[in-house]
Subunit: 391 residues, 2 copies
């Protein structure tokens, strides 16, 4: 994501500042002797280095994205507060379990009229109900936060292999008041139209900017993310985009169960289709105002991401192995993922917990079947009967 | 299809007659010594047998669906006219190149109030324009003809592996006149409501039936095709169902080109999504009155069939090989299919010829790119640029 944004801010100098500040969680790394960066005479190779400092020397994250050179205008910064200071656009590309802590750190340290885009997929289910991560971020920071999701495997994008994504951005109506440092941040104060909108610059990160701040249009958000190898479609349905990325993993488990049974491509395509329609139903039922069926059925964050996830994603593969080997999925996680947990199983449990609370398990027979299979209460072979339409 | 229909007519004796007449093109077959049916003392194994007679003895089509026992109420009949005589429901499961000849034979030899369901996918492009095969059948026979299409690989269905399908059936408004043998067949005379609708029987094939003839509801059509392992969704969009099965093969070629380049699952899912939306656009533009986006994006005949075809169908595999081996697709057809032609290539040419005639090539950049790749005018690598949205 840093690569894409950095390429785009360079391509649109009238619109964005050139530097992209990238917060990295600091750690020590060592350049391996087999690395193309290894040079016994280089000071970088005399023992452990700070990840951020090394990145700013060689423009590569040797630990998390080895082999990919990032543009020089991406600056790694180990200080979250410093990286985000004065940024008008914050792009969140973090595992969901860190959102809460990161927002705590950012609170009070960002521009009140900053905007967020969450690339973290999924929903947060608690006693209080169900919340999108984009909503959690927005609420905690008092800013508007959109979402980006699609059939996007990071390493393929880094290699500039063609893909698509969906960006949802739909801030509340423009408020024409001027922002001032005294403003307490709130969504309605964020979108300010400036007379010199064309000349003002959005910044992907850092440094002071004019107090007059242009509204951020779909067109300009698109310019931050769209590349010849990474096609962006803009929508307004933040809920649909956020949900697609989470719920598709539950569908991928179901598809894996089918494939594990050796039932062939017809069966797999059938549960993908049924799953996609349960995703639509879930969105429309629980996020009705904003959620559109087409976000799931026509966009990269929906249908295309379901397809990718059911072709070879981790959830799909582990579910398939579980059936083939007659094992519980936790055992497969142990064997295949070093005990790392699948996103699909936790989402299946969260979705089920929410549906049960709403008394709506039977309205979502595939999601419920996946939960019951994970719980050992249902067999994969029963899926067709369970999802058979009753009309 | 005969298996499914035969199981269902037995399950609904109040609605359907028990016997299913299946026309087979007569040929001579010999039971192989390795066959489970081989018995040196059996008269069936003393040289070549007629396919129809052998089928009626052993209830298996040893040439075209070996290993699958069909229900005893399927009767193979080498006479097309005899098989269709007095049938009120005609199910067409034939390669499209035979439709014309078969309709010539049936003309004047079927009940004027018979109904058809076409399982033959695709469209017929000629100087006169574009016509669905269901429309061709209906027009030639003077009957109403619906369509069945879905992610349905025949051998998987025969083995009762779970799958889904879509049946489109939407006859013109009911005409309450009584049919009489003197009626010239026309669509408006077909749908006749009988007072004893519940008691009258639809016949899948053969034998006289009451002159009072009930309208055929979605519910009853569904009963003819729905099985626990073959889930049917009924829709009214005959154009969408017919087009889905044809156009998906063009999309499968595009997906194969991506995979052949080694561009990964993101790229493949992206062209599948773009292709699905071009299918929607094609349907809505050229069959606007009846065609619904959801038929493509939400039904088995659309999204699910695209998925199956792009996972491992012949069109996908041959397109992939063509790129990998640097060959023309005709050469791959020669090598891999013994010179048999792919459905996707002929559909791509037909679709292109129609779009060109309409001056609309640029409105369908993926379909056009596939055609140009087949023609050697475009390289697969150019697809992303060609389908990049211009907005």
């Amino acid at each position: 994501m840093a690569k894409i944004v950095a390429e785009n801010v360079k391509a649109h100098p009238a619109l964005f500042e050139e530097e992209v500040q990238m917060w990295v969680y600091e750690e020590e790394v060592t350049i391996d002797e087999k690395s193309r960066h290894y040079d016994p005479n280089s000071p970088l190779c005399q023992g452990p280095q700070k990840l951020s400092a090394l990145f700013n020397e060689i423009h590569e994250n040797i630990k998390y994205l080895p082999g990919i050179t990032l543009p020089k205008n991406v600056i790694a910064n180990p200080s979250l507060v410093d990286a985000a200071r004065d940024a008008t656009l914050l792009v969140f590309v973090i595992p969901h379990q860190f959102i809460s802590r990161i927002c705590d750190t950012l609170q009070g340290n960002i521009l009140p009229y900053a905007r967020g885009i969450s690339c973290t997929k999924g929903v947060d289910v608690s006693d209080k109900g169900i919340q999108l991560f984009s909503e959690s971020i927005g609420a905690r920071l008092g800013i508007y936060c959109g979402a980006l999701s699609g059939a996007n495997i990071a390493t393929e994008i880094a290699q500039e292999k063609y893909s698509e994504t969906t960006v949802a951005y739909d801030p509340p109506p423009v408020d024409s008041r001027q922002p001032s440092p005294a403003h307490s941040p709130s969504q309605s104060q964020v979108d300010l139209v400036a007379p010199n909108a064309e000349e003002s610059k959005h910044k992907a990160v850092l440094k002071p900017l004019p107090i007059e701040y242009p509204a951020l249009s779909h067109e300009n958000v698109k310019k931050l993310f769209h590349r010849p190898y990474f096609h962006v479609r803009m929508v307004s349905d933040v809920a649909g985009v956020s949900l697609g990325g989470a719920l598709k993993n539950v569908v991928a488990l179901a598809a894996g169960f089918m494939d594990g049974l050796g039932w062939g491509d017809n069966a797999k395509a059938a549960v993908m289709r049924v799953g996609l329609l349960e995703m639509v139903k879930f969105g429309k039922h629980f996020f009705s105002a904003s959620c559109r069926a087409q976000t799931f059925t026509e966009e990269s964050c929906g249908m295309a991401d379901v397809v990718t996830s059911c072709m070879g994603g981790r959830n799909f593969r582990c579910a398939k192995m579980a059936v083939e080997r007659g094992m519980k999925i936790e055992e497969v996680e142990q064997q295949e993922l070093n005990g790392q947990k699948l996103q699909g199983t936790s989402t299946a449990y969260e979705v089920h917990s929410y549906l049960k609370g709403q008394g709506m398990e039977h309205e979502f027979p595939l999601f419920t079947a996946v939960y019951n299979i994970l719980e050992g209460k249902t067999k994969p072979e029963e899926i067709p009967e369970l999802i058979e339409p009753k009309d």
